[in-house]
């Protein structure tokens, strides 16, 4: 493993893209930053600007408005960048599948690297998902 990949996977800066979620997943995401789980141990921090991000974290089912926003956001992230779908909604739209205001799922808009299902997923599940994502990113390069 070269220093590039090592540095990339040890310092993931996360931009939180909320695509019309119900806020449950967002609360659990903030749980990851609290003393009990503290993901800053692994160099993971939330950033304010999408230009600083390495990971686009998507929650919720995109509707007609957030679909365009998500597309734009993905084009604004400096590459290489990873995308995580957090929550059952972002993974597979669950009960909003046939809804009138749900045009498509997240992975039809942007290429998703990791799916973390759950309604909402526990912080432990998210950390497990991030570990899998890091393993994947390291084996890819």
């Amino acid at each position: 493993m070269d220093i590039k990949t090592e540095a990339f996977t040890k310092s993931l800066w996360v931009f939180h893209a909320a695509c019309s979620p119900c806020n449950n997943c967002d609360i659990e995401i903030l749980d990851c930053l609290t003393p009990r789980h503290d993901v800053e141990r692994f160099g993971i921090v939330l950033v304010g600007s999408v230009r600083h991000a390495d990971v686009l974290l998507v929650t919720g089912v995109p509707n007609f408005k957030t679909k365009e926003t998500l597309k734009k956001l993905y084009s604004q992230v400096p590459k290489p960048c990873l995308v995580i779908a957090v929550g059952s909604c972002a993974c597979g739209r669950v009960m909003f599948r046939d809804s009138y205001n749900s045009p498509c799922s997240v992975d039809e808009i942007v290429p998703v690297d990791a799916y973390i299902p759950g309604c909402p997923p526990k912080p432990e599940a998210m950390i497990a998902g991030i570990v899998k994502l890091i393993v994947k990113a390291r084996s890819k390069k």
Binding site: I3, K4, E6, A7, F8, K10, S11, T34, P35, D38, E40, R41, F42, G43, V47, G48, S49, R51, H52, D54, Q76, P78, K79, P80
Partner: protein, 303 residues
């Protein structure tokens, strides 16, 4: 000539101060984490961040001027020169020149100017809000900071960094007198604002204007800004040591003073919520400027 380049690029210039500065940034993150009962990042985290940023894509927004790319390097060059001058007078005694304290005061403004130039060239509305706040913040903290420096100048009767150190070596550190203590407190608050930390992170305000002045920067341009900020932390700690704590400069005491100043800055950062820009202006021009004037008067009286 090669000696000059060595000093500028390696010790005590760019390389040394960047490494120490990035460790200081790590100390900031670690102490912050411990105060919040977290574990915090490992010591090499900031180096990892920089290496990662150098391998990222650089996005230059449409309509941005050439100054968008040049500004980070302007800031880095200025702050490196600053840290070279400060490090030379601290680590090798007798290496100062003329009235170098005035040069230092000017050089301290260059990173801020670079930030303002770069952010306003990006053409982002949130960045322009950040720029306007940054400019007001500079105007507000410069007055008390200059008053604090003037106090030291009056006390030691010197505008030369070496003469200041010599005075303190003969008598005692400036901070152990009434006027010196007041000036030190004033300067410490100004340093917090200069670093854009703590209650004065108004121009970056992650939750409010999404990184403000840095919002459009990505890849190695952001990394250059981050290194510049790290070197600035290092330089300001050295400047405070020279001005106020210059008596015993043996390595152990130097490290203790250095980390003591950093921890004080970090504690101020973590125990105060962000101020609005008008509150910050009132704080600096009101209370702190008064304290600064008081320190100047006391030093004129010889206290």
């Amino acid at each position: 000539m090669p000696e000059l380049f060595f000093r500028y690029l390696f010790f005590p210039g760019f390389l040394f101060s960047a490494v120490v500065g990035l460790l200081a940034v790590w100390l900031d993150r670690k102490v912050t984490a411990r105060l919040q009962w977290r574990v915090g990042p490992p010591w090499h985290q900031c180096f990892m961040d920089i290496v990662k940023l150098f391998n990222k894509e650089v996005i230059v927004p449409e309509g941005a001027k050439i100054t968008f790319i040049l500004a980070p390097f302007l800031g880095l060059a200025g702050v490196t020169l600053l840290t070279t001058i400060l490090g030379r007078s601290l680590f090798s005694l007798g290496a100062g020149f003329g009235q170098d304290m005035i040069v230092v005061m000017y050089l301290l403004l260059i990173p801020v100017l670079a930030l303002i130039i770069g952010a306003s060239a990006s053409g982002n509305p949130l960045a322009s809000i950040g720029v306007s706040r940054e400019m007001k913040l500079v105007l507000s903290y410069e007055l008390p900071f200059i008053l604090a420096v003037i106090t030291v100048i009056i006390k030691t009767k010197a505008i030369n960094l070496n003469a200041v150190l010599d005075y303190q070596a003969v008598y005692s550190s400036c901070v152990f007198s009434l006027s010196g203590l007041l000036a030190f407190l004033v300067a410490l608050m100004c340093v917090v604002a200069k670093l854009g930390l703590g209650p004065f992170d108004i121009s970056e305000a992650e939750q409010e204007i999404m990184g403000g002045v840095l919002i459009e920067y990505s890849g190695f341009l952001l990394a250059v800004f981050k290194i510049g900020k790290a070197i600035l932390i290092h330089a300001l700690s050295l400047f405070l040591i020279i001005l106020f704590l210059g008596r015993d400069l043996s390595p152990l005491f130097l490290i203790l003073k250095y980390s003591g100043i950093l921890v004080a800055v970090i504690l101020i950062k973590n125990t105060n919520p962000r101020l609005r820009i008008d509150q910050a202006l009132r704080f600096f021009w009101g209370k702190l400027a008064l304290l600064g004037v008081l320190a100047v008067i006391l030093s004129l009286l010889g206290l």
